[in-house]
Symmetry: C2
Subunit: 210 residues, 2 copies
Amino acid sequence: MNHPKLKLTYWDLPGGRGEPARLAMTIGGIQFEDHRISFASWPEIRSSAPFHACPFLEVDGYTIAQSNAIVRYVGKLAELYPEDPWQAALCDEALDAVEDMWVKLGATMGLKDEALKTAREALVENAYKHYLTVLAKRLADAGGEYFADKRLTIADLQVMVMCRALSSGTLDHISKGLVQEVAPSLHDHMKRVLNTPAISDYYSRLMAAK
Amino acid sequence: MNHPKLKLTYWDLPGGRGEPARLAMTIGGIQFEDHRISFASWPEIRSSAPFHACPFLEVDGYTIAQSNAIVRYVGKLAELYPEDPWQAALCDEALDAVEDMWVKLGATMGLKDEALKTAREALVENAYKHYLTVLAKRLADAGGEYFADKRLTIADLQVMVMCRALSSGTLDHISKGLVQEVAPSLHDHMKRVLNTPAISDYYSRLMAAK
């Protein structure tokens, strides 16, 4: 299949909203320009970014934004998205739930000291514990290994990237043991997805390039 | 085609995040239980709602949440979602952009007086004007009539519902002339979508039932 010319612009980070699309294209062997930008370059780039948001994807020169639209599109090219509407709905629900989690995390960014502590503790108690619990239930209902279609889909990539961020210890006032404590099956899922050969190779190459 | 048993739970409002799914099922002639709830009943319902969110959809007894996952699923049943991956990406980008707009509006809910005024004015200036401009450009790029696939899709329903809310005059400090002023093509699109027979019939029946 001939794929269009793809260029993904996103932060030079090994995670975040743009990472699942990078992983999907890597797993699917789909050539793309991996345009990694620094935070410092954002003021210059922002005005040309649709919805002033990052990531964005150029497809044969036309640029779209919205991380879930992007990952669903490249997920279809990479055959990592269910064809069955109900399995696709389960995949989509997980994508959107994780997007909620990024939005809620984003609302605490920029806060400092006590305000950050209070907001992050509330985020964990009032939202993240519940989200992780529901996602763990979804995983169990779907058979325990993958979120949809009994195979790796973009939902697994999206949830893994979020759980990896939460477990990194780099988010102030979010215990890096949170996922393991609240939803051990998601922690196992994260490790399993990270051990997928195409993904472990990708992160090895990324580490080696630093 | 035999559809599963569907029950959509959402506020008893003629708009909002759950409305595009109602419209899609109505247009597609898909039977569903239209479970309309009051804000007063929410504390009782909340604990059983996945991600503590509304709308949610029961499909043969299994409940999923996330409004865009729901509208994409019922949109496929109703044949209001593109099969072509790129057209689907354009549809999805519009869905997610409107979801952003709901999230940003939600962040101003509960504010009062001067704080509400300041937040809503910033919302319009810093986000909504840009979002409406990008959406209007997308509509023009897609041919001017529909957002994707050169036919009515769930993207048109979603954008119409948002533009209708913004143009209702019921959102404090958001001028009901905003859409018409910033993106007249979106205002025309809204009127055109509302004049789709299945949609105008739906709102006539809803008004008559009040």
